[in-house]
């Protein structure tokens, strides 16, 4: 191997700088060209794939110009990989999990997911972790291994969702009347979908209430507006119709359950 002169080193540095600039520029160009036709998830994948392959090629080219024997480097890299593999099992596990996540696609960039107690919008799916922005604007880095092992709920996977609202009314109320009023409230709300039909179910004889389930279908982006409006409308309509919303009742007995609790009224 000849000793390196200054020109060779400068030339290699030039290749590195120009090569990396071209790689980053083309990666950005590809993203811009693909943007109208592909989802953010696919864009991210294409951008990262091009970026990583490009960087490896540029680095290899630079090493060749610096007269480094790549065969030896790759051989050494194999040994180093085994060593690193033992030392960085977690990272490798995340890396492999990341590949599974990319292949399986349980969610995409922009989806809202729930993992354990964390709920947030997927910002990026990287090789080691998934980045989330929670709904109260916190940044969460979630290792890919966790996502592979945990139950992940993709809230925005399907275009429509059902909102289930539990309503309890007093035992004295007429069940038919309550069902009629709930149906009218749901039908009158423009954000509740007519189809699929809303579900109104007399669910249970509760401890203190007759329990109803109101299942309202909505387009996934209208969660907040529907939730706010329909809860208010149910309350307002129940007030108008004189339907009592139940609250827990507790009867306290002293001694025998057949004798009333003694209450003594005293004058001021």
């Amino acid at each position: 191997m000849k000793p390196l002169d200054l020109n060779t080193v400068l030339y290699a540095l030039g290749i590195l700088l120009v090569g990396l600039t071209i790689v980053f520029a083309v990666s950005r160009l590809i993203t811009r060209m693909m943007k109208p036709h592909f989802s953010p998830h696919h864009l991210l994948l294409a951008q990262k794939a091009f970026l990583y392959v490009g960087i490896v090629l540029v680095v290899c080219t630079v090493l060749i110009h610096l007269q480094v024997n790549l065969t030896a480097v790759l051989g050494a890299a194999g040994i180093v990989t085994v060593a690193i593999g033992f030392a960085a099992q977690t990272s490798l596990s995340n890396l492999i999990s990341g590949l599974f996540l990319l292949g399986e696609r349980p969610f995409e960039v922009g989806d809202i997911i729930v993992v354990g107690t964390t709920r947030g919008v997927v910002l990026s799916i990287d090789l080691l972790s998934v980045k989330l922005r929670t709904l109260d604007n916190l940044f969460v880095r979630m290792p890919n291994e966790t996502l592979i092992k945990a139950e992940v709920t993709t809230v925005t996977r399907f275009p429509i969702r059902r909102m289930d609202i539990n309503v309890g009314v007093a035992y004295k109320e007429d069940v038919k009347n309550v069902i009629r009023v709930l149906k009218e409230v749901v039908d009158a709300n423009p954000n509740s979908l007519n189809e699929p039909e809303p579900l109104i179910l007399f669910k249970d004889f509760g401890a203190s209430s007759l329990d109803f389930l109101v299942g309202v279908w909505f387009e996934k982006s209208k969660f907040l507006v529907l939730k706010n409006s329909i809860m208010r409308e149910i309350k307002e309509r129940f007030d108008q119709e004189g339907i009592e919303i139940a609250f827990p009742h507790l009867t306290v007995y002293a001694g025998s359950d057949t004798r009333p609790f003694p209450v003594q009224v005293t004058p001021n």
Binding site: F158, P159, I160, P190, S192, N194, F218, E219
Partner: protein
């Protein structure tokens, strides 16, 4: 105060500083303040549309480089497909055909400038229609729901409402099975709007039902319906009218009809 109540076309501010626009269920007041326009929208009862210096007034403000002299008022078809639920479901025999007249609430578009170089102020729904879904829980399209009598007779101009367009839908049952029609989906962004006297008409829509395992073929005509001879085109279709568009139109049991 101007009292120009012309439903469609150009409304001049002239020396007055405001215009009132009034339809059956909607009133809009546009006020000129220097180079700004303020817009108040009111639905329902016939209370006066209030706006002034009252900070409680719910108005929207638009700023322009120079004072605006006029606003254009144009009807538009709703910005989503419409799912029509006929009040009385129909069973259409094989090889038969039927004409429906469906009344569709239009959007009202307010814009400034000339029609070629327009600046849209607002697109207001003349009626708040309920959302509905056409498809299954996994895939489909968000639509507005319209309950309609789906008349078989051509409506008279006396019964016309200024914010509703009549859409003539011709359904041909080309299959060998009965078509049980409880609802159908119309993509009206392919329809022109026509003014005929006080009535609004859309371009006619022809639907050919090919069977429960086939998609329906839909033609959106370029012309005004024959019931509105001499009608003037008042708004272009937002997407070019298509012929032979293959789409799912009837829904319910199975994949294509009910």
């Amino acid at each position: 105060m101007s009292t120009d109540i012309s439903p469609w076309g150009v409304v001049q501010f002239s020396e007055q500083k405001e215009v009132h626009l009034e339809w059956e269920r909607l009133r809009v007041r546009v006020i000129k303040r220097g180079s700004d326009l303020l817009l108040v929208e009111h639905r329902g009862s016939s209370e006066t549309v209030q706006l002034g210096d009252d900070p409680e007034s719910d108005f929207r403000r638009y700023a322009f480089q120079s004072p605006v002299d006029a606003i254009h008022v144009q009807p538009r078809m709703p910005d989503r497909p419409i799912v029509v639920h006929p009040l009385h479901p129909l069973r259409l025999a094989p090889k038969a055909h039927v004409d429906f007249y469906v009344s569709i609430p239009v959007d009202i578009q307010l814009f400034t400038g000339d029609p070629e170089n327009r600046e849209t102020l607002e697109r207001i729904r003349s009626e708040i229609l309920s959302d509905t879904w056409f498809g299954d829980q996994i895939g489909g399209v968000l639509c507005y729901a319209v309950k309609s009598r789906a008349r078989r007779e051509c409506p008279t101009s006396e019964s016309a409402q200024s914010t509703r367009a009549i859409c003539k839908v011709q359904i041909y049952n080309k299959s060998r099975e009965q078509l049980h029609c409880t609802k159908f989906c119309l993509r009206l962004n392919h329809c022109h709007l026509w003014q005929h006297g006080t009535s609004l008409w859309t371009s006619p829509v022809n639907v050919r039902y090919n069977g429960s395992d086939q998609l329906s073929a839909i033609d959106y005509s370029e012309k005004a319906p024959v019931e509105a001879v001499g009608a003037v085109k008042i708004a272009e279709a937002e997407e070019a009218p298509l012929s032979g568009l293959i789409r799912r139109t009837f829904a319910g049991l199975g994949t294509a009809f009910d």
